[in-house]
Symmetry: D2
Subunit: 279 residues, 4 copies
């Protein structure tokens, strides 16, 4: 009797909350680029009764992602994969963001789409930034959905010289995640599995707190103040939405994105943000 395996890629604030929410009674395979953080979380989870193993991964390398998928598959039935890894615009420059946030997700969707179990499901953490970015043309969207992964960074509108700054690279990557999940839903469906994305708003993770303290912090606070809920998200808000999408009550949901942003995008598009930011 092989145990069910749940893979969590990226062990920041959301990855931790999700690992705790999904991992009980299963083998949890944690993956991150940073081995120190990885071992620290593994130790904490083991203390809480989880069965944990770890593997370093560089999501921008197909070889590294494939190795992770093979490890997962060797441990048991890969019933869940949650991808939370990513670089924020504060942490990296255009090229690194495109490689990790855009290409990385494409590779993970492809390699885990080859090992996910019948009845399994995956969630990719995108961002509400994917709902904000400049409108892409239908042709550009199609290209982001279906271009073979290795060609993604060669698309004219994705090449570093076409993407002017790290914020734009981030928004483009996160929009690409949503589209890539649409494209991947076919391969996942052929295996009897589902794949969706979640687009979080401003979440009070360490990364989120860093952004709130940064140069765009004032704007972010104005966005939150103008939103329907008027509050920051917690990692648990994202873990709860993830649990729903991975769980039995969402068996008819695949290839879609769920915006979990407290109402910020709705406020922006309704023109409320400007009024609020100005006051």
């Amino acid at each position: 009797m092989r145990k069910e395996v749940v893979v969590v890629i990226g062990v920041g604030g959301m990855g931790q909350a999700i690992a705790r929410r999904q991992g009980a009674g299963r083998t949890v395979l944690l993956a991150d680029l940073n081995e120190g953080v990885l071992e620290s979380l593994a130790t904490s989870l083991r203390g809480d009764g989880y069965d944990v193993s770890t593997q370093r991964v560089d999501v921008s390398s197909r070889e590294s992602v494939r190795s992770l998928a093979e490890t997962a598959s060797s441990r048991g039935k890969v019933v869940q994969m949650i991808h939370t890894a990513g670089l924020s615009p504060l942490q990296a420059h255009v090229e690194a963001i495109l490689r990790v946030d855009l290409l990385g997700v494409a590779l993970v969707l492809e390699e885990f789409g080859r090992v996910v179990a019948d009845g399994g499901a995956g969630v990719v953490i995108a961002s509400m930034a994917g709902h904000m970015s400049v409108r892409l043309t239908p042709e550009q969207e199609a290209a982001l959905r279906m271009t073979p992964s290795e060609g993604l960074l060669e698309l004219p509108f994705v090449r570093p010289d076409a993407v002017t700054n790290s914020g734009a690279a981030y928004g483009l990557s996160k929009r690409a995640n949503q589209l890539r999940v649409q494209g991947a839903s076919a391969a996942w469906g052929e295996r009897g599995a589902r794949i969706n994305s979640i687009s979080p708003g401003v979440i009070a993770t360490p990364m989120g707190q860093q952004e709130l303290a940064g140069e765009h912090g004032g704007m972010m606070r104005a966005m939150v103040a103008a939103s329907g809920t008027g509050r920051l998200g917690t990692p648990a808000d994202i873990a709860n939405a993830t649990a729903f999408l991975l769980g039995p009550d969402a068996s008819f949901i695949t290839g879609t994105d769920l915006l979990v942003d407290g109402g910020v995008i709705a406020a922006m598009f309704s023109g409320r943000l400007h009024a609020s930011a100005a006051s």
Copy 2:
């Protein structure tokens, strides 16, 4: 001690499933244009132990919707409102569709946004058709979000002469529902409440079965065959998504749309539908 009130507008297949899922231990106020169907469901629900009252409503009339909201409010705390009423392109012509499916939702959002309880939540059933329709300009989207309800049917691109057939009227209305929910999330938020929409795919309700038997039935089956799940939805799939959005695990979700379509839209945009429909 006043009981909590849950209002279900529209008592077709989805309305029934949602009323059963949400109504236990509360006062259920059912509303529909058709009094016969209304009483029939009320009798069935009472037999199953629900506390039910009914009121006829014409959602295209502000007076009628306001009366419903007042009735709800007089019965207790209006903790949930689910709007499932609508006309399908098979059932009605352009004008009726725009009046019921587009204007009707705007009126319901507005009137219930005045009575919903602190901590309450609402869900509007839109449609995946709202994800398919021709792209609107940002100005048109803004107009659908924010134009006062009484002016909606006067917008140039909404006027019956600009909408060529009932299918187009339906798609436009359902896109408008999603946008209107964004716009309404501010007023609902000011009362401490949340509002979201669900966009169902092909659901095996009586209305859905009628469409599957109609002239577009073959295309609909091809869409389902090409989708990630490869199946029709059940009313329970929509009731489960509704329960999530209304429940405590979605307290950071407002002003958004959740596509529950088995992967059809993802298949369409990934070009899989054509291949499948041709085979």
Copy 3:
């Protein structure tokens, strides 16, 4: 790719609600003694988009139960089994109740414990009557847990001459269900599966309504009036508890009973019922 199979035994009010709640996207195998009711529910579920097959079963016959388990197993992975079949004291005499309600559950637990899939789960619908009955000795409880099924009806305190009326037979059977689930949790656990029972209170199913109209109806209403919730249960209340016990959030729960009775048993044991019944 074989579909997941969910088996629902007994298609009364609770069986129907549970089949709708658990069956979407799976093969639903419905079983009941009454073929007319079986086909009628199957037709209704197919209309709602479920993939349904049926098989007549006499739960008091090992051969019949084994045949059902084999059918289930031949259709795919048996991920869930929910046993709702039973006779009420109004419907049958002592012998029939013991054969169906006590022996039947033992046979179902045993035969499905041989086919349930790794990661699967089951729920047996017992009754709050199992919490009310005269206290059994530890030896009697042990006998009900562990005696081979074929010997259960031969136990001295279970033999028809020791059980004075159908109400006592019902209470004893339902207490036995809870104990048998404890005993069965070992075999189910060895397959990586879980098994639990639910003890409903007064539920507004057709069977429940019949009891409320019968000679004990007044006492039942007094019990409900004295309870913490003060209301009848709905089939959805039981379906929701079932969904929890079968689902991922209950992966550490096995071999236990969940009382879903609106607070009736608590009221009885707190002496509130007498006061209320007397007024």
Copy 4:
């Protein structure tokens, strides 16, 4: 618009997991005897986006518990109360255990039963030890349910000289918790609220790990090995069960206990434990 308040008493491993699971979007009032631990968790939760306040409480003092309930009530609608505080047999002697684990729960149920909001709910963390202890007589059970709190420690079978060791005091207290919840469901019900208990098995909290390392650790491991799930519980297992009992799908559940023990009690009563412990 006053925010909803959730009160978590006891901030060990379970209290932390429950606070994170239930607290988003609400005011979280944390209470514990140990102010250092209290402030440490509050700081951590604030970093994750929660709105937190704290108050020191000695649950064995009515005055202290009442003051906590008054603080909760002054902050908003007290929609949830979760009591996780308690002393383990390793940590304390008979008298302290009876005062904190038995009397403390009675006081909390009583004082929060006076402030809980209409529609609210509470959960008391008991223990599987309450399912193991020597059988009480019906008269003793009745006394534990209904004796005024101040008289509980004066009951002949509760007096320190009648309780021979800290393990017995713990088991008696935890059984009393389950019974006291039954008794309290009337007062909570009159306010439109529900109250239940959870009886956890061996959970990998710091307290649980301490017990596993202690003199009874070997026996505890044998119990886990013999159980249906064969594993330790995680704090998330308890938080998930708590979320269910507090949530909308449990609106017909009050005055009951949910055993979340991985199947240990079932294994014990089925005689599997001895076999396993002996091997």
